[in-house]
């Protein structure tokens, strides 16, 4: 029953929002992991905007356990996500939106 509601929500939300929300947020909301936590994990590992975006792009284009930022236990349990079907341009656009949403540069007071 829960699964059916989730899929329905996904289908509804696919029709709204930008490319990031449509292709990333909706899925992560249901299957996790939390995008914000994920962003700070990437920041912790790759530091700069350029490096974070590059790592994200490479992983989404070709997901594999070695490139994944998630713990091994998590990967064993849930496995690696499927390859993104977005075009390079769309993927980069989605990553840019993702970066802008959680970036810390310019927000520190």
């Amino acid at each position: 029953m829960v699964k059916i509601v989730g899929i329905l929500l996904l289908l509804v939300s696919l029709g709204f929002g930008n490319i990031y929300e449509k292709n990333c947020v909706n899925c992560h909301k249901i299957f996790g992991p939390d995008l914000k936590k994920l962003f700070f994990a990437y920041l912790l590992k790759y530091s700069s905007e350029k490096r974070v975006k590059k790592a994200l792009y490479e992983y989404l284009k070709n997901p594999n356990p070695k490139k994944s930022i998630m713990p091994k236990e998590y990967l064993k349990l849930k496995g690696v996500k499927k390859r993104s079907k977005l075009s390079d341009k769309e993927l980069k656009k989605a990553i840019n939106i993702y970066w802008e949403k959680y970036r810390v540069i310019g927000r520190i007071k």
Binding site: K37, S47, S48, E49, K50, R51, V104, R107, I108, K109
Partner: protein
């Protein structure tokens, strides 16, 4: 240079990193950058892009660890993980040059201690090395003192006995022999007195009195007459009035003796010695060999001799100089080679 301030800067950086970690763990909910009164800081990512900065001077050198720009010291610390993407934490402090003051202070303290230490070492080593030399000097000094002391008795005995001989009652040949003995004894007596003066002059305190120079000069001329006669030297005296000087009589006699002794010693056979005494003026002039003009300035140096043909140690004029200095008497030497030397005293 930065060794003293570095631990403090490391502590500052650790504080900032700790705060960054907290901010990171809040997942950006709390993005209040830490501020401190003692220093300023900034954070940069792995691509040297500024994340946040409170620095006055933002042109930082992230490839260095610690450096100074103007009056600011910058210290770069890398956290163990990239909290908020931070690869470099930059700490900026005002350089009050405390380290420089401390360094200078240390240089002075340790330099001074080192000098004292070296001084002690040097003192003991010098003392150790000079010990044999000092012992030799002491031995020589004691020998001279003892010898000088022991000379007094025989010389006095010779001179006293010659005085008692009535020269009119003996034949001419013996008279000549006695005269030679007298001259030799007086010469030895002069040398003895010079040596005594040099050895003991610091221990002899002067007895200042009003010395009648006319009387003293006539007495000394009389004493040196026999010596002068041996070289057929005549005294020409221009001593008319009584002239007085505030000085020690024995020392003044020593001064005159040495000038007269030189005037005889370096005179030619059959020469003359002119003595002129006026108010605050005494001149003793000989007709001897003279000395070159350029050597006059060295005449008063001890052991300096310009003519090796005559005996002596070169101490006579040094004694003259010391006595004259004690009683504020100016000495002027006029000399011309092969014509003679004039010693003028003014007071």
């Amino acid at each position: 240079m930065f060794s003293q301030i570095r631990p403090k800067l490391t502590e500052y950086a650790k504080d900032v990193i700790y705060r960054l970690k907290e901010m990171h763990q809040s997942l950006g909910e709390d993005l209040h950058y830490p501020r401190y009164s003692g220093f300023k800081s900034a954070i940069y990512d792995a691509d040297h892009v500024k994340i946040f900065s409170l620095l006055e001077n933002n042109s930082v050198k992230l490839d260095k660890v610690i450096y100074k720009t103007g009056k600011k010291i910058h210290f770069i610390k890398e956290p163990d993980a990239y909290y908020l993407g931070t690869k470099y934490v930059v700490i900026e402090v005002e350089d009050n040059e405390e380290w420089l003051k401390n360094t200078i202070k240390n240089i002075f303290i340790f330099g001074f201690l080192f000098l004292i230490f070296m001084g002690f070492i040097g003192y003991f080593l010098t003392k150790l090395f000079l010990k044999p030399m000092k012992e030799s000097f002491m031995l020589l000094d004691n020998f001279i003192k003892d010898t000088t002391h022991e000379l007094n008795t025989p010389i006095s005995a010779i001179l006293a006995n010659i005085e008692t001989i009535d020269k009119h009652k003996i034949d001419e040949k013996l008279q000549k022999k006695i005269n030679r003995i007298d001259i030799a004894a007086r010469t030895i007596s002069n040398i003895y007195q010079d040596l005594t003066y040099l050895i003991l002059h610091k221990k002899i305190s002067s007895i200042i009195e009003n010395v009648n120079l006319k009387e003293l000069l006539l007495q000394r001329v009389s004493y040196f007459k026999i010596l002068a006669q041996s070289k057929k030297i005549d005294f020409v005296l221009n001593i008319n009035e009584d002239i007085f000087i505030e000085a020690d009589k024995k020392k003044m006699a020593k001064l005159i003796d040495n000038i007269l002794s030189n005037a005889i010693k370096y005179n030619r056979v059959g020469g003359k010695i002119y003595i002129t005494l006026k108010d605050r003026y005494l001149s003793i002039k000989d007709t001897g060999i003279g000395i070159p003009k350029e050597k006059i300035k060295d005449m008063f140096k001890r052991y300096k001799r310009f003519n090796q043909s005559e005996g002596g140690f070169g101490i006579g004029l040094n004694i003259v100089y010391m006595i004259a200095k004690e009683f504020s008497i100016d000495i002027e030497i006029k000399s011309k080679e092969k014509e003679g030397t004039e010693v003028i005293l003014r007071w």
